[in-house]
Point group: C2
Chain length 516, copies 2
Amino acid sequence: MTGAEAVLQTAAAAGVEVCFANPGTTEMALVHALDRAPQVRAVLGLFEGVCSGAADGFARMSGCPALTLLHLGAGLSNALANLHNARRARSPVVNLVGDQATWHREADAPLTSDIASLARPVSRWVRESRTSAGAAQDAAEAIAAAQEFPGGVATLILPSDCQGGEAPGPARPIPLALAPQPARDRIEGSAAALRREKNAALYLGGRALSARGQLAAGRIAQATGCRLISETFPARFERGAGLPRVDRLPYFPEWVASFLEGLRTLVLAAAPEPVAFFGYPGIPSRLTPEGCALLTLAAPDEDAESALDALADSLGAAAPAPAPAKRPEMPVGELTPEAVGTVLALLQPEGAIVVDESATTGLGYFPAAASSPRYSLLTLTGGSIGMGPPCAAGAAIACPDRTVINFQGDGGAVYTLQALWTQAREALHVVTLICSNRAYRVLQIESARAGVAEPGQKALSLTQLSRPDLDWVHLARGLGVPASRVDSVESLRRVLSVALAEEGPHLIDVVLSGAR
Amino acid sequence: MTGAEAVLQTAAAAGVEVCFANPGTTEMALVHALDRAPQVRAVLGLFEGVCSGAADGFARMSGCPALTLLHLGAGLSNALANLHNARRARSPVVNLVGDQATWHREADAPLTSDIASLARPVSRWVRESRTSAGAAQDAAEAIAAAQEFPGGVATLILPSDCQGGEAPGPARPIPLALAPQPARDRIEGSAAALRREKNAALYLGGRALSARGQLAAGRIAQATGCRLISETFPARFERGAGLPRVDRLPYFPEWVASFLEGLRTLVLAAAPEPVAFFGYPGIPSRLTPEGCALLTLAAPDEDAESALDALADSLGAAAPAPAPAKRPEMPVGELTPEAVGTVLALLQPEGAIVVDESATTGLGYFPAAASSPRYSLLTLTGGSIGMGPPCAAGAAIACPDRTVINFQGDGGAVYTLQALWTQAREALHVVTLICSNRAYRVLQIESARAGVAEPGQKALSLTQLSRPDLDWVHLARGLGVPASRVDSVESLRRVLSVALAEEGPHLIDVVLSGAR
């Protein structure tokens, strides 16, 4: 068999189910090998940022590694922004990047470039295969590296001769180590601190935001009275009825300051210490209040769920009575950002996956959906916009029986709108709500925060998505997705209800009041 | 003044006229500084690949350096593919990439990443500013590095505190060195070889494809009988009536083999030795025929125009009679790729700028337009698709009095379709011809060349842009550009004539016969 066939059969044996691909000439051996690996589904993205974002979404929802197939440095470049988000989400993603044949590299043909230098900033593991006989073992190690707890991005560069040449056969999957357990004294130290200090909080990130992690956290809060706080941008946050109340750390550092004011003890569970998203003059990087003790129960690369269970047990904590499902009231009046979030929280079905890149529009959604029926919330972990539409496609492929809702800002959506085509081709049940405020609103807010009273002409023009307005109904139809426009609470309610009840993708252009 | 103001005033003093921007929070000081630098036009792209492609197009047509303004590693990532093309085009482009404040880096906030590692593969010069007082001098050096003959990409990383902090004032522009002159013995050696060997060719790239370079090459051909051949993917190729016949090196290496068969001497003028685009089994990397002597008249970083003038003079060569303008005949029959190229060659106005990313559809266009009225041809130098729409926008900004035609494959167009919005906002006269064959046709050809008689289901699905078809009329309208669809030679002729005569942008979806 060829090196490419050996690579894909190794992947299939390791449990890989899907390859998000945008191949070129140097990947044709891998393309043909896909036809000999029936276990691996091939999904085309019309831009590589779709492939990497979909791989991230698939990995977040399935826990299984997803492949991307990319065309040399050019293709990898286009995938990088969403690979950055996948890195921050700790998603197991394996990039297979074709390259010039090993013997052709020195000719410096036009597409030749330093792929490893591009890959390193987003990858925990980078290797270039040197022979077709060794490519399968390289792939096995790449997959194992991506799966090493809690997950990450691995990049395997496969020169075309290593794909096309002869290989003895697939490599054996590498057994995975168990998640590292935090030392016992950290559990005891956290228990003692939470017993001692009433003004304390448990800060939850990563796997601590699973249902299991939160149920343990709820017992701990019940026993000690501590607050439960999530990181600002979780990779996957199980939410809704039956889970304890977990507040979300705000975005702007001055909001964090008042949110955490008076806190005396902060216990970290799979989350790094809270830091400001950006460095603002006069505001510290680290947001733990002065005089607040900082303890680590579990680091992000340790088994936080077991640690939370053990902490709850050591406190002798009983489970609180589960809160019932409770929908918000139907809003009245203008189609404000808060109203959009409330209508979504009201209508989203049980088991929904909400991919939230709504940016400033979504501020009201998080509290509104706190007691909705159980759902999964996926957020913009790395801050690199354009995650939403591809991530929604990947999540839908991972969970074909669940409804995926992409709650999406217009500025981010236009980065990777090509994902709509993949949603149409694969007939995915993704309902996209485009929040059309026709601006990079967060930049306008940042400008005001920085004390710029009256931005100049150019500053205004660089933060407005208008002249001309984007017409999302046309854009979606151009990519094969049925679409509607709404500009009132009532029309949003009606159109969203229908879209959720139908099959396949649908896009709703939600024109916010003030943007008409 | 702030460091950001000092940077932009330094750029303005160095002759920078335009900044293609997609800023974020870490670039807000630069955004506000743009309002205090009236000499620098700010153009918003809704995706960073638009900014970098437009900067490349602007630089190719103006010869002046263009700025991009990008948001940390995420924004630079999205710009990389077209920066790769700019690197191969040797276009003077200066990336200003904002970053976390120097003191905030160690907090490892979500958007933090290794920007320099991302920048190096596309940049000849990379630096990170360390102080606001030094940022202007860094900018002056970045601009000089980008302009060093013949041009290239420079990346300056500007942490937000280096933008916002105090600076003493702008830095003085750095005087540019003249283009290096090839040694006299290379001119004499080339003259002797071309006098001696009748079966010889002059291989023209870079600046050798200017009108001046070609007119000198025409004299050399007239005197010696040598053939004139251009590189396959020139950055800027002046063409049309009054210039000598210059053939283009074919793409596939077996075509090159028959094209160059029997050649005994190849003289390089600002072009590297011909190499295969990819490494194919059994085909060498370097395509100079066996037994053919290879001489360098001018390296790509030497002054090829002066060298060609000197060579023509040393041969005592007279100018040939200029060939008159001659349009091809109007084609009849099906809307084949050849017919599309012929209609374009027939209708393109004098002084047109044709940005050609037509891939397989465009094969017939090059010979058809050989004797059209004078025009500039810009091609896909680096092979990273998605260059066309942004490059056309940048070329139109550089040359507001010329008509820009983007002759564009559908697969590449969907990579950076966001550029249409910038064309609409800036009211640029860009006419886009989308060649809708609904396939990555070149991959289907490569598959057949590799001997795959019947590609499998997945291989087929990964090379087809169908199920659903892209609707380019909807897509263009969604981005504010008027659009039409044509499916016959006659409707193409009619609609293209109107679009060329009108102002502003227009897109024509050319549905090729066989793709309906």
